[in-house]
Symmetry: C2
Subunit: 201 residues, 2 copies
DNA sequence: CCTGAATGAACGAGCGTTCGTTCGTATAGT
DNA sequence: ACTATACGAACGAACGCTCGTTCATTCAGG
């Protein structure tokens, strides 16, 4: 193994170890010594890659963020390939995949919220409406009930699913709705599509 | 002021100061000295009221939890006084009130999740379905679309609203849907009631 | 040889917790 | 009513430890 290859390998191991520890015990609950131990590098070596512990945390967030906003992710693909609101079940399944694939990132944003007062993730929710509007503009929509705001409805659906799966990950409760994930996706889709009340006669 | 009255007053001030600090910088980011300073008591006095810093945190959680599960709260009252699913807007407004009134508690549960691996709040989501089923059983429901699970639909509605308002509190983003809270409540209610798609002809 | 990645002892600050002490107040004895 | 006594709430210096960070030194690769 070449010298520079080992260097980047060390950097990756530091990031991975720090991530696992931050997720389990938070930022201030994790010491640099723990990180070094878990990564299998010396204490001082951390500072050859990151200027401070906080810088290490921020780098972690940035790497995930880049991944997350890359368009090769299940939800973006689903939204691009199918049409709202015919794709409600597909959005549900894609949301589950996204939460599973990015659960570490999502949990890290909660670490930022709790320990840094959300200092590093400000732009995550900025212009959310514009981003969803752009998706709809690019793909068009199927027929909507009159008076229903399309972008609002899309955000409602996506974040309804997101939050359900995030709850399971965050609070480590399985089946907090008392049914299988697949059935929750179906229930949500049914309600989002036609509502809870029966059709008027 | 009597001796014991001053004692309990000190205890309250410690709890309040600790709460404010935990919310801003987390548990491990807050030192006992900061708490004592903010509360206006001596460092050692904290330990006349709480055996450890963690005990102080847990006491805080327990006091809020008792409050939260007391039935004199807006959402419980709304669910008892109106009938599902005719009360969708009322549930939305009550959810907003609950999140506002208990935002400190809710944020503290996130502190527990991030820094204690959700150790102290296990039972919060346990038997959630049973609790919501009991509400429906006590009050009955209006007519529902066939195939829609009543308890599931109620949880979906309540937690849809909850999560919307929690997002605003947690991530300190206002109007992340790009509309006023009241309009979000209306949009959600409209969709929950009759769905996103138009009626079939 | 150099270069620079890697090391880990060392540093000073700050941590949670303890405990000997003080002192205002409630209680008991006269 | 007054004093003597006991109580326990409050204090804050001190303790042992761990923290994030630094840096002189080592040593393998180019």
């Amino acid at each position: 193994m070449t010298k520079t290859a080992r260097r980047t390998d060390n950097r990756d191991r530091i990031l991975k170890a720090a991530c696992a520890l931050f997720l389990k015990q938070g930022f201030n609950g994790t010491s640099t010594r723990e990180i070094a131990d878990k990564a299998g590098v010396s204490l001082g070596n951390i500072y050859n890659h990151f200027s401070t512990k906080e810088d290490l945390f921020v780098s972690l967030l940035k790497e995930y963020e880049a991944d997350y906003f890359n368009h090769d992710q299940p939800l973006a693909r689903t939204l691009a390939m199918t049409r709202f609101p015919e794709n409600l079940e597909a959005i549900g399944e894609a949301s589950k995949e996204v939460v599973e694939r990015f659960s570490d990132y999502i949990l890290l944003t909660y670490v930022d919220v709790v320990e840094f007062d959300a200092k590093h993730i400000g732009k995550l929710f900025q212009n959310m409406r514009e981003r969803y509007s752009a998706v709809l503009k690019a793909n068009g929509t199927g027929p909507l009930r009159e008076g229903v705001d399309p972008a609002g409805a899309l955000m409602m659906v996506v974040w309804g699913y997101f939050n359900y799966f995030i709850m399971e990950k965050l609070f480590k409760v399985q089946n907090h709705y008392g049914m299988k994930d697949a059935d929750v996706v179906k229930l949500f889709a049914r309600v989002y599509r036609r509502g809870i009340e029966p059709d008027k006669k």
